[in-house]
Homo-oligomer: 138 residues x 2
Amino acid sequence: MKDPVEILKSHNLKHTWQRVRVLEEIALDQFALSQPELEKKLGKEIDRVTLYRILNTYEDKGILHRVMDINGTANYAICSPSCKVHEHHDEHVHFNCSNCLKIYCLEVSIPKLKLPKGFKANAASLTAYGICENCNTN
Amino acid sequence: MKDPVEILKSHNLKHTWQRVRVLEEIALDQFALSQPELEKKLGKEIDRVTLYRILNTYEDKGILHRVMDINGTANYAICSPSCKVHEHHDEHVHFNCSNCLKIYCLEVSIPKLKLPKGFKANAASLTAYGICENCNTN
DNA sequence: GAATTACTGCAATACAATTGCATTTAACTA
DNA sequence: TAGTTAAATGCAATTGTATTGCAGTAATTC
């Protein structure tokens, strides 16, 4: 993973310890972290509002991507390096485990779709629901 | 569309005018209706809480399916007839217009996915984002 | 190291969803 | 069809989630 400081610099964002903490926390995990989880982990150190704002700016800048789980709560994961500021297409499949509720970013890309005449898509999200490798073996 | 009364009967649900109204309202529209829209349309007749509860039971029973839009607000549409209790097979693609915010249920089915070893999917949701046919021509 | 700009934290507010409980309504039965 | 039972509704209160304004603070620039 790239250095948090580098990431901030390359996006013209001020370097604050709060922002670094958020990046660290999210980068640590191989799966997407949900808003509540993040809040539980960082709530003592960082204000709720600040966390919201940091996550929003990160999403805007294309540093994080947001995945909605089945309940409509936001989950965040680091964008792939290929993700640039303007073209924000981390078009890979996500997997939401019904047991542990974790969200995985899979190395599977979303298939091209043939949409009806008149519909113009510029992004897509695909989430599969089921049992993950971890919960499967236990 | 099937008769609301029939639908209720076949799912062992009591026949109340509130439940019929909700079904009518959702069936009328070709697209998925959002919670706020439903509330605006039915708020004068039906209590908020009742609406929430009706939508939940409908989802449980497989009468409606719920689609989350980009903002995490719930949208509801009638399930296909093949949809059984607790196993939702409405595996079609949804389209979320960035302009009018409507959600369309497209007649396009979700492609089969090749998942990594260990992952077992039993459902999937695919939403494309862009401009719909209506907003495109205007 | 002083000035400028933008980020943070707090308080207040707005909005969304849930729960408990009393009342009403639908389905069942005699 | 009246009486009984179980379930659904509506209201009030509560909880939870997200947003906004603003004063104070911290980070970059020169």
